[in-house]
Amino acid sequence: MKSIQSRLSVGLFSVLLIVGLIAAQLSLWVFEIGMQRYLEAGLRDESENMLVAISRGSTGLQLDEQRISPAYERPFSGRYFRIDFPGGSWRSRSLWDLELPRPEAAGLHSDVELGPEGQHLLVLRSDYRRLGQSISISIAQDYTPVRASFQRVRTIGLALGLAALCIVLLLQRMTVKRSLRPLERTREQLIQLQQGRRSQLEDQVPLELEPLVLQINHLLAHTEDSLKRSRNALGNLGHALKTPMAVLLSLAASERLRALPEVSQVLREQLDFIQQRLARELNRARLAGDALPGMHFDCDTELPALLSTLEMIPGNHLLIRSETAPGLVLPWDREDMHELLGNLLDNACKWADSEVCLTIVEEAAHYRLSIDDDGPGIPVADRHQVLNRGARLDELTEGHGLGLGIVRDIADSWGAELLLAESPAGGLRVELSLPRRT
């Protein structure tokens, strides 16, 4: 879609150009007609003088040379005449050896060209009756200088017009920019909205934009509200289901079902499946609900709490350490980050022999999170499969599956990349590169 600015520019440019050209051409034309009328009057005077100069002589009609202007004597002076009458024709000496064609009809003609110099002539043919004969007098005047000056005027006018057009366009651009500034502000706010740095648009906008902005705000509020509601509903449902599931799990393990081991086995499997699916979906719902980032993850305060939580898990007699720069704050939601790191570290703890290490490094465009363990690791060939396990919910398996599934959901929602590699400590290294948020 073209921008409004360029549309306006193109529109205004073409309108101004067309109107300007038509107006200039029309005014030139009107002016030329007026000019020709004026010149015609001169030519008519001239031709009437000529008529008066014709008298009856001894050999018929004769022209009194004294009464005509000397300009007609000088060759190619720019003033010419020819007089046709039944007994013959005269022409001015100024024509020299050229022939001035006799116009077909009486009146003014401007389309006659003469001689090697290509003089444009304005010719007036007037028909009279005098001394009992019909006399047709054609008076011509060189029109070239007038033409040339018209041409000059046209060129200058064109240049002036173009300059004016440029100035108008420039001014129009400024005006449009000024008047579109609220639109530009709204556009910036929409970008911020998309990046999650804003939840509503400012409603201090021009009248024309107000319905749009109000409607967007209304929709945003509505979406957020219904998202929150459905997320809460899902959360409540999920949490409400967990207690009955605990009852069922306990029942499946109880004495009453000891006689039916296969029933209890199926019951357990299905309950485990429901539980994993529930955990995954609850996590997804939580992620989807976070349109706005909450509190950020401050490594100095949050990591010790997380690590001591992990150390408290029975069977974790491991050394869990973290290496981060002091004062490092990860600009992501605190709760999501806990979920991500908690699951990754928990997984590492399950496989580690003695030590798990979390390293967070801030780089130019990324935050690089690495979790190393000194456990058995995963062979290169299987890594891809491990990463993708749990991509589909019906493929969930114990252990690696669920935790990594949740981690991947979070990573995906942040546009982060999850990699498995060999750790210098001997086991597996899970590496996450989180693209920096703007």
Partner: protein, 222 residues
């Protein structure tokens, strides 16, 4: 071992109590947070299992109040909220362990077992070891040297309590308070009978009688 279960779901509480009873724990049950604040602080429990979603007072608040009143009993938090952030909140409030619903009953038993040992400063091995005896809590039997000795439920309870408190003088009333729940009658004669049974099975020297004071387990080398 006497436990307090604070859980508002009756069916779940029934299941947990039944399971814990089979494991030889005496369990008192409360469903309301307000009662729990009071009773948890006044009765001599060995461990408390606390649900966080309670009517009356929320579980975390109950826990904070206990800890503020310097109650040192280990608390295992039981909750449907399974996010790591919730887990951290729970542990910050003073929980010793955090188990999310739904859970396998064995998981709960293992957590309780390890928490009780941890509270006594004992290593978390597969069996409980004290004074040359190895108690297998899952199978409720004890290994003495190369010999495996079967125990009745009552003997198991008593021996476990002794083994978790080795070389301490334990009075009959103290033992009765920690071995029976609040509703069962505490008859000190019954205790005496069980102590004698244990002595017959494991040797006289295992439990020493301190006249007027009570019993002492593992004082003499067996």
């Amino acid at each position: 071992m006497r436990l307090l279960l604070v859980e508002d779901s009756v069916p779940l509480a029934d299941e947990i109590i039944a399971g814990l009873n089979r494991q030889g724990y005496a369990v008192d049950w409360l469903a309301d947070g307000r009662d729990a604040i009071h009773q948890g602080a006044s009765e001599p429990y060995d461990l408390i299992i606390l649900d966080l979603g309670l009517p009356g007072v929320p579980g975390l608040e109950v826990l904070s109040q206990w800890r503020a009143a310097r109650l040192a009993i280990p608390v295992l938090v039981l909750t449907a909220r399974d996010s790591w952030a919730d887990r951290i909140e729970g542990l910050k409030a003073g929980a010793d362990d955090y188990l999310t619903k739904p859970f396998h009953p064995e998981e709960l038993h293992l957590r309780i077992q390890s928490l009780l040992r941890r509270a006594r400063g004992l290593a978390n091995h597969s069996t409980l070891e004290a004074a040359g005896l190895q108690l297998d809590e899952g199978r409720q039997c004890v290994v003495q040297g190369a010999k495996e000795v079967q125990l009745t439920a009552a003997e198991f309870r008593l021996l476990r309590y002794f083994m978790l408190h080795p070389e301490q003088i334990l009075s009959k009333s103290h033992l009765a308070e920690h071995l029976y729940d609040g509703e069962n009658e505490r008859d000190s004669n019954v205790l005496e009978v069980h102590v004698n049974h244990l002595r017959r099975k494991l040797g006289k020297a295992v439990i020493e009688t301190r006249r007027g004071q009570g019993y002492k387990f593992g004082g003499a080398v067996v």
